[in-house]
């Protein structure tokens, strides 16, 4: 069955693009979770709805249309928190609500929901194109490049922002770049898991990894392992059981989270018993 599963071209494309997006989200998610910005993915994914609705209305590519919309919204979130001193979660809530409202209005003007829109809401990984696969590869390469080049700056600004500033690290630039790259990752991820579930791909793998890691580097690679394995497991389960791939990927992720929690609990008990 496995060889049959792997023999389909659309499955191969889905696995490749899904793995690349999952790895990107897993790395970005570690920084977002530790900076308490994890819900930014949720806000951006809701803004995707506006991009997708505009694309469907104008018969353009939802991915290309959503990138500028989500990028602008992410910058809006940053400005609301920095300039207007609004709490981060409140700013995300405002932009998120605006994204859904505008998306729904445009959808209604365009004649209501259709199957295309539903496939973006719930994900349709098996319709990923090679171009989108290449974009996912470029995104992951950029993330890895920045990670290797600015590892210390990133970790330091996550751990203690004020102190990082006193070391000459441009923390607000780091945050802006992080949020902008996350915007692109969110847009590329909505075909994999759907608009409703993108934030799970950004949050659950890092949280699982944080439970079972002792160092920052461990968190990063374990988060990537959880994210990528969940894509493979989720697509395989969706193929076998004929269920939506996005939901299957997130359910596998939740199983990893439960496993990590039990492992951490046992480890903690053993440590205390020594």
């Amino acid at each position: 069955m496995v060889s049959e599963f792997l023999s389909y071209g659309f499955v191969q494309k889905g696995l490749l693009a899904g793995s690349l997006v999952a790895a990107s989200c897993a790395i970005l998610g570690v920084f977002l979770v530790l900076k308490r910005l994890s819900l930014i993915g949720d806000g951006m994914s809701h803004v995707c709805l506006t991009g997708v609705a505009v694309a469907l209305l104008t018969s353009t590519s939802p991915v290309y249309m959503s990138v500028p919309v989500v990028l602008l919204s992410s910058l809006g979130i940053m400005k609301l928190t920095q300039k207007f001193r609004i709490y981060g979660d409140a700013a995300i809530g405002i932009i998120s609500a605006a994204g859904i409202s505008v998306g729904l209005v445009i959808t209604a003007l365009a004649g209501g929901f259709n199957t295309d829109l539903l496939s973006y809401l719930f994900g349709s990984i098996l319709t990923v194109s090679w171009t989108e696969g290449i974009l996912c590869a470029v995104l992951l390469s950029v993330i890895l490049l920045l990670l290797f080049a600015f590892y210390r700056d990133l970790v330091s600004s996550c751990f203690d922002e004020p102190f990082a500033k006193t070391r000459g690290i441009a923390v607000s630039t780091v945050n802006t770049i992080l949020v902008m790259i996350t915007s692109v990752a969110v847009v590329l991820a909505f075909k994999v898991v759907g608009i409703f579930l993108i934030s799970a791909l950004l949050i659950i793998p890092p949280v699982s990894a944080l439970l079972v890691s002792r160092t920052f580097k461990q968190v990063l690679w374990k988060s990537v392992c959880f994210g990528v394995t969940s894509v493979w497991g989720g697509i395989f389960i969706s193929f076998v059981l004929d269920i939506p791939s996005g939901a299957a990927i997130i359910l596998v992720n939740l199983c990893f989270l439960a496993g990590a929690y039990i492992y951490a609990k046992i480890g903690h008990t053993v440590e205390n018993g020594k």
Binding site: F159, F163, T166, R167
Partner: protein
């Protein structure tokens, strides 16, 4: 002695409510400045402003260079009031935390020279035994000592400390202030320290700065204790501080020349 930190007409307001007004002073190399004043008087905001963590109006110079152009951050060590990790378990060990105090390197590699500096700083603060431990698993007092090592690792010329001893037990506190005193005396490290415990650090401090939105007083310990203008201006607080300086250790920190002691017999 050369100027280390200078401010001119420094002002800061939260939501149009003034926190700092017209603050101007100059700290010279080797000064050990105790920053005192009432809660909400702007002491922490002042330190954050001179470090660029709060955007204050006015002029700030570090080592003769304006703050916006200043890049030699390795010359400054900073220890904040609160530990950065409160609830969540940040996956990082103590030696990695200390490593963050070094500037100029961005990648993930650690050089042997850097590790040597990290261990030296940890030995200074008696935290070498925690090097491999997860920072979050340490007690608040141990975390604070590790953070002091982070402030010291770049061998700074200036140390800025915001109520650093609140989480420390009596022994650690004594060791902490002895170390600061030693750094100031032997290595000439300039220290700016926000404190409410004037008695304990009084024997080390060379100057007092009293902040209550404005700069009420900045001068030597002797001037502070003997200035009738200060006593008049600061009233009960000044008397309390002077009493604290005199009584805490059972001896006068000003030595035999203290008029207060002579006056009180």
């Amino acid at each position: 002695m050369s100027g280390v930190l200078k401010t001119e007409n420094l002002r800061f307001a939260y939501e149009r409510m003034p926190v700092l007004e017209n603050i101007g002073f100059e700290v010279r190399a080797g000064d050990y400045v105790g920053i005192i004043g009432p809660n909400g008087g702007g002491k922490t905001t002042l330190l954050k402003s001179v470090l660029g963590l709060e955007k204050a109006e006015g002029k700030i110079w570090w080592f003769g260079e304006e703050l916006k152009d200043f890049r030699a951050w390795h010359k400054i060590g900073y220890l904040a009031q609160k530990s950065p990790v409160s609830q969540s378990r940040f996956p990082i060990c103590a030696e990695e935390v200390v490593l963050m105090g070094l500037t100029g390197r961005h990648g993930s590699g650690i050089g042997t020279g850097e590790l040597k500096q990290v261990y030296e700083a940890m030995s200074q603060t008696n935290t070498r035994q925690y090097a491999g431990k997860i920072f979050h698993d340490l007690s608040i007092g141990q975390q604070q000592r590790v953070l002091l090592a982070r402030a010291l690792v770049s061998k700074p010329e200036v140390l800025i400390l915001d109520e650093p001893s609140t989480a420390l037990d009596a022994t650690s506190r004594e060791m902490f202030f002895d170390l600061l005193g030693k750094l100031n005396k032997e290595q000439g490290t300039t220290i700016l320290l926000i404190t409410h415990d004037t008695g304990e650090v009084g024997k080390y401090i060379s100057k007092f700065m009293y902040i209550d939105k404005t700069l009420v007083f900045f001068g030597t310990k002797e001037e502070f204790c003997h200035s009738s203008a200060v006593a008049q201006k600061l009233g009960a607080f000044a008397q309390h501080t002077i009493d604290h300086l005199h009584n805490r250790h059972g001896h006068c920190p000003l030595g035999d020349n203290c008029e207060e002691c002579a006056h009180h017999g």
